[in-house]
Symmetry: C2
Subunit: 338 residues, 2 copies
């Protein structure tokens, strides 16, 4: 079993690599009593703690030809920050677990950590622990993020009559990934779409602002796709839902890219995953001050549907007032990417 | 790229598998405000929080021919509980991240979760989150454990004059692994040694009892090997150390197994990793009540050396009063298993 990563890494050794990496990211900060270098980190929380983990596996969640190490580092942390944001939490600490195949170069790991550091600094997250392992398989980075919140929001609080809202725009990451996979596609807005795929923006500030309104009833991040995540929220809330296709905030250039690609834009706007926007429900009174909240959140807010009694079902209102069932069309790491 | 796990798993899908697994382990308990099923878990800590993560990769940390899925489940959680124990913490919550290759069967995942549940129930740990991914590489399970403690111990508090102690016995896991790899070796105590490798016992109760004495100054778990971990503790404490080879608590049958195998027992007792005992330092007054503390901890305590001024170095006192340097001879996932 040959397991040693590339020679530069192998000569550093496990402890040498950890020693190198700890200097590339923020490792101390408020609340960190003991950080990297002991058996475990010791941390202080001043409110309820929020915990999530998410893995990025080469060949499943990304490929090196379409994702630079710096982008992967940003992305691997950002997808976890998005989960904290979806609970209306503030991210605080992260643990980073790496599985490195033999061919891994030091440049790859340094690049990953540069992107990781950029996201950690941008969102005031401290890396407090982790581990490094060899693997005979693909490169993988598994991150746990710990945050805290004093007014957390779950998926399970939506009531009939609440409006459905979303931050930012939908379908951009799926469109960006398509453009990367089909570099011949003519798309003037391609750069922004590709950036949305490579460098998702976790809506941390928005999550806080929305919870502070006291009018938001449920929230989820759109990692699996707009349709799929509204379905998750409605199921958790034991409610029905209507999604208004015409209201979806479609980013500039997405429809043109879809035409150039011969694709239905709804495959991206309804079905495309990895946007990492916040999909949330709010009492009707929210709408009157939505413009103000959007400014405070630093991101547009768009009303895209309504929560219904459970008996009225979950469906999409499309062109010509045609109803179609709301279907989970997001990512399934076992099935959709086979 | 074929990424779908075995047909039974593929037909369950990612969400179906998660739904199945959550019923196999404890998922609710004190302090869990929101558990599995939302974007993140929401948890309460009543003291300082302690966080650690550790991965088990097939071919690096275990092989299926020597480790049953049930054992892997126990082991993957136990090695993390040991890190919490080494900080004198109480484990509370765990997040479990799985990377499943295409050939994974439902029986393997169910077995893993049976062992995981056994350890979770034994140590009152609640599984509060995680994720499941496909992989083109080896099976991997990465676990983050969160605990808490009101009197945490680090590696960095040892003073010259403190005695060095260890719980339980040393070298048993390495001996057990050797016996598994060389099934022809004659070893009457083989079963206990093999069990020590497959089902390490995290010394959670011992960590608490030791911290409560107020006399323990530093602690680490012996995951890398007795010599290596004493070196880590001495380095973190900026101190020297003497390890008395004759005092090491060698388990029954280890020396006979070493003779039968034609091996030097010190390769296991000094260099063998994965024992997951607590190696700690204590003020001289500890010794007078050590027998009582051992009873409360539920595990023997053995004095194995002394902390010295840093200038006196770090060394092993062997037969015939010969001194040899204390060397890191434990596991390095990049180098020692290449």
């Amino acid at each position: 079993m040959a397991r040693s990563p590339g020679s530069a890494l192998a000569s550093l050794g496990e402890f040498g690599l950890i020693e190198r990496l700890r200097h590339l990211v923020p490792t101390t900060g408020p609340g960190v009593i003991i950080g990297i270098g002991d058996d475990a980190a010791v941390l202080r929380f001043s409110a309820e703690a929020i915990a999530t983990c998410d893995i990025q596996v080469e060949g499943v969640h990304f490929t090196w030809d379409l994702c630079r190490p710096e982008d992967l580092g940003w992305r691997a942390l950002a997808v976890n920050l998005s989960d904290i944001a979806a609970m209306a939490g503030v991210p605080r600490y992260a643990l980073v677990s790496l599985a490195l195949p033999p061919e891994t170069t030091l440049a790859t790991v340094d690049g990953l950590y540069a992107g990781l550091a950029e996201a950690a600094l941008a969102y005031s997250v401290v890396i407090v622990g982790g581990n490094v392992s060899g693997t005979s398989g693909p490169f993988a980075v598994d991150i746990t993020v710990l945050g805290e919140g004093d007014r957390v929001l779950s998926r399970a609080g939506a009531h009939p009559g609440d409006a459905v809202w979303i931050t930012g725009s939908v379908g951009k990451a799926a469109a960006g990934l398509f453009l990367l996979q089909h570099p011949g596609t003519n798309s003037p807005a391609g750069e922004a779409l590709v950036r949305a795929y490579r460098r998702p923006i976790p809506r941390v500030m928005a999550g806080r602002v929305l919870a502070a309104t006291g009018l938001v009833t449920a929230m989820i991040d759109s990692s699996d796709g707009t349709a799929s995540d509204l379905l998750h929220l409605a199921e958790a809330s034991k409610a029905g839902a209507r999604l208004d296709l015409d209201c979806l905030p479609v980013p500039a250039g997405l429809e043109a890219a879809a035409r150039a690609a011969g694709r239905d834009p709804a495959a991206w706007t309804l079905g495309g995953g990895e946007d990492y926007e916040l999909l949330f429900t709010a009492a009707p009174a929210f709408e009157a001050r939505a413009a103000h909240h959007a400014e405070a959140a630093g991101v547009p807010l768009t009303r895209i549907g309504e929560i219904l009694p459970e008996a009225e079902g979950r469906w999409v209102l499309g062109p010509g007032a045609i109803r179609s069932p709301l279907r989970a069309a997001g990512w399934d790491h076992f099935q959709n990417r086979g």
